[in-house]
């Protein structure tokens, strides 16, 4: 018989579980840039794949798909207006239940897993294509040494597919490591990539227009059944039943539908719109619609027009045989103008292609990681996968799984973009189909508020018929069904993958259900979970001026020990906080307690409580879901009116960088806000102290002497005998502000840069380090908002 006695309800430790994610919000331009990094990347390979499948009229189908993407985007806008996180999993689960949600998320995973390999291999094709072309051009000028000739048995030439595989593997492994370390997604970086891409698109369209005017063009055959020329591969299972070309003639419209199905991958990436929605700034719906318009127009112009131009300008003899996998490079080579200029532009195309396609490889890893984290939060994937990396705290097991699948895919494809593209379309079309079907069902099932509806809607006998939604669904379903028959590789790979993932999800869910029942009971015995939408001081029962201690890894709690050692908890409360990082693809609001507080948090807090008990001190516990840990810490410290944040030293960045990140997050909090101290504790007990927020700067001795010397001179002036030191500083700063805003800006910046270069400690705009690194902090009576029980000497 067990001697274990559960504690009485009064003994249980209270944990406040915040259920709203603490986010930093972005403008619609940045949101559009993030989505376009995924969506616009397909312009680099979609038309080549489509033309191989259906023939020379492929660009019209790409244009048609891009037009249709305006309607698909409308479905996503409606879903996002209902659920802040309106992605496939949430929507399908709400409408059709858990089983179909698991199927749809499996299709989405297939989409994400394939995004990496197709983008990596395609980027490789562009780079190798340029290298081979450069070798050939150099050889015609006699610039290639004879030794190189004998080595390659002629003009140096790299095996395109093999080298692309090596390149794709290198990029994937690079991003695997970056994600394992936990790189921050940057909307700034996405915006820069899109700005560079826009420069390329403008040059491409402008130069193409000039070329059309100067050199004429090849007409693009209209998308009629007679103009369709299917390859054997593009008929999939149907090639066994019908002779190669008779199908389109037998069923005129079916041919169009098959061709449309071979072009749908051009609109892959729409799902990203749902994922960035929750980060959009207020007014959310308006900004979502603006972002959606920008995305749709941009991708239509880039993907649609570049597809048409490639057939119009690149001769038939080389378009498919030479440039099928790097069509935009081919377009650059057939512009009107000198060869050198065309080669330079091709180089630019390759650079842009590399940036956007390798960015898509990263997006694929982040997206898959986010989706699997999301389903894991719902108990559909074993918690084992979500266990944080020992050093970096990332969900490395999920990242490893995703990257392993991507590497296997890259190797299996042998660098064939066509095969990858065909398979990719399976995930794209089925995740769209599930999403639109669910939205259709929700029109009848969901009675909550909708921000917006896909038009037109007709009311007959009191029932609203969603004609627009139904239409989009019909197109997607018809295309998805036809693709099942015509894309044999995609069907076999996609169905197998989805079934395997579905089985993993189902078994995990079953196992987790049993485990959660036990964990829930244990949790009830030891912890009292108080659910709250936001973080509030009252709910935690703590006083203002408390000390906030963020924890992540239960093996490294030296900073909690330090905080408890140096805090008298009778005077000042200690709040231990865990930020549950809720990634891309996770829910944003209304998370259930189990989603936020799970196995790992239970172990983490059990350890924290035992540390506090060893000091005989009381701590308050808090779990906060967050997109970005810095933002969560800054917002929580702000909401709880904390006077100090005590953090452990990071394995990824210096303490100054930690302070800078927290300072940046603090800057994003709206006014009014209060300053606080950040104390970063090293394992050896040393502490680096920073003030977060504006504060009296630490002045160098020579500056104090200079100020005093000026004061002595100025007070000798008639009528200025009573001037104080601070009056001189006020005047100096006012003049500095004026000069910086007007004519002397460049000189000032230049001089400050010189100072920065001379100073090994980088200039920190937001968080200034107090130049004392002390192991024994003393109390302070500071009055500048930086004081606190844990404040060091100033």
């Amino acid at each position: 018989m067990s001697s274990f006695q559960p504690p009485s309800p009064l003994d249980r430790v209270r944990i406040v579980v915040a259920t709203s994610v603490m986010l930093t919000f972005i403008s619609y331009w940045r949101a559009a840039a993030i989505v376009l990094n995924d969506l616009a990347s397909s312009a680099f390979y979609a038309c080549g794949i489509s033309e191989q499948a259906v023939g020379k009229s492929a660009p019209w189908f790409i244009v048609g798909v891009m037009l249709f993407s305006f309607a698909v985007r409308a479905v996503y806008v409606e879903s996002c207006s209902m659920f802040v996180r309106g992605g496939v999993y949430r929507v399908v689960k709400e409408a059709l239940g858990g089983t179909l949600a698991k199927f749809s998320v499996s299709a989405l995973m297939f989409d994400y897993i394939l995004t990496g390999p197709i983008s990596g291999v395609s980027a490789g094709q562009y780079i190798v294509g340029l290298l081979n072309e450069t070798f050939a051009t150099a050889d015609t000028h006699g610039w290639i040494p004879r030794a190189a000739h004998s080595l390659f048995n002629g003009t140096p030439h790299l095996n395109v597919n093999l080298t692309s595989v090596v390149f794709a593997l290198a990029v994937t492994i690079y991003y695997w490591w970056e994600n394992t370390k936990g790189i921050q997604e940057s909307s700034e970086k996405a915006l820069r990539v899109m700005q560079i891409t826009t420069v390329m698109v403008v040059i491409l369209l402008g130069w193409s227009a000039l070329t059309l005017f100067k050199s004429g063009y090849n007409p693009v055959p209209l998308p009629t059944p007679q103009n369709l020329h299917f390859s054997k591969e593009s008929l999939g299972f149907l090639r066994h039943s019908f002779p190669e070309q008779s199908l389109a003639k037998m069923f005129g419209l079916l041919g169009i539908l098959i061709a449309f199905g071979h072009s749908v991958l051009a609109m892959s990436g729409e799902e990203s719109l749902a994922q960035v929605n929750r980060e959009l700034a207020h007014p959310k719906l308006k900004n979502l619609k603006r972002a959606a318009v920008v995305i749709a127009i941009y991708s239509f112009v880039f993907t649609g027009l570049s597809a048409l131009l490639s057939v119009m300008l690149i001769p038939d003899a080389v378009r498919v045989p030479v440039y099928k996998d790097n069509l935009i490079s081919g377009l650059a080579m057939y512009m009107w103008g000198p060869l050198l200029l065309r080669l330079i532009f091709r180089g630019f195309v390759v650079v842009v292609g590399f940036l956007i396609l390798s960015g898509a490889v990263n997006t694929a890893i982040i997206g898959s990681n986010g989706v699997l984290n999301r389903v894991s939060e719902d108990g559909v994937l074993a918690d084992w996968f979500r266990f944080p990396h020992r050093k970096y705290g990332t969900s490395s097991r999920i990242i490893n799984l995703v990257v392993l699948l991507q590497i296997v895919t890259i190797l299996a494809s042998r660098g064939d973009v066509y095969v990858l593209g065909e398979a990719y379309a399976f995930g794209v079309i089925w995740s769209f189909t599930f999403n639109s079907l669910s939205m259709l069902v929700l029109r009848f099932k969901y009675k909550g508020v909708r921000g917006w509806k896909v038009p037109p809607n007709v009311t007959i006998a009191g029932t609203e018929i969603p004609i627009g939604l139904l239409s989009v669904f019909l197109v997607l379903l018809a295309t998805a069904l036809v693709n099942l028959a015509t894309k044999s590789v995609a069907t076999v790979a996609g169905v197998s993958f989805s079934v395997v993932f579905f089985v993993i999800f189902t078994v995990s869910e079953h196992t987790n259900r049993k485990k959660y029942a036990l964990a829930k009971q244990q949790m009830k015995d030891h912890f009292q979970l108080l659910q709250s939408d936001t973080v509030q001081r009252d709910l935690l029962g703590i006083r203002a001026g408390n000390v906030l201690v963020p924890i992540r890894d239960y093996n490294t709690m030296f900073h909690l020990r330090w905080a408890l050692e140096h805090t008298n908890t009778k005077d000042q409360d200690v709040v231990v906080m865990s930020a549950r990082i809720s990634q891309f693809g996770s829910a944003a609001y209304g998370l259930s307690t189990e989603q936020v507080f799970n196995d790992y948090e239970q172990t983490l807090f059990t350890r924290a409580v035992s540390v506090a008990e060893s000091f005989g001190k009381k701590i308050s516990l808090l779990v906060v879901p967050a997109r970005d840990p810095w933002s969560a810490i800054a917002q929580t410290a702000h909401n709880l009116e904390s006077s100090a944040v005590v953090a452990g030293v990071s394995s990824k960045m210096t303490t100054a960088e930690q302070a800078f990140n927290l300072g940046s997050a603090w800057e994003a909090i709206p006014e009014p806000k209060r300053q606080f101290l950040l104390q970063i504790v090293h394992p050896n007990g040393n502490v680096d102290t920073f003030r977060i927020g504006p504060h009296t700067p630490t002045m160098k001795n020579e500056d104090v002497v200079l100020l005093h010397r000026l004061w002595l001179k100025i007070t000798q002036e008639q009528g200025l005998e009573n001037v104080h030191h601070h009056d001189i500083l006020t005047e100096a700063l006012t003049r500095f502000e004026k000069d910086y805003g007007e004519h002397d800006r460049e000189d000032i910046v230049k001089e400050l840069r010189l100072h920065a270069d001379a100073d090994p400690m980088p200039i920190r705009r937001i968080a200034d380090q107090i130049p004392t690194v002390q192991s024994e902090p003393t109390r302070s009576d500071g009055d500048d908002g930086s004081s606190g029980p844990l404040a060091g000497p100033k």
Partner: protein, 48 residues
């Protein structure tokens, strides 16, 4: 018999596709007008 079933299924798919494309075209036109109004700052609320 098998051929007839295939033909019927194909016709159904074609019908779905044609009806869907026409409806989607209407969606594109209507949302396009709405987007234009939004970009010109004359947006109407469409809430339920």
């Amino acid at each position: 018999m098998g051929q007839i079933i295939v033909i019927v299924l194909v016709r159904i798919l074609e019908g779905m596709f044609v009806v869907g494309i026409i409806g989607s075209f209407v969606v594109i036109v209507l949302t396009g007008i709405e987007d234009l109004k939004m970009l010109l700052g004359r947006e109407e609320e469409n809430r339920s």
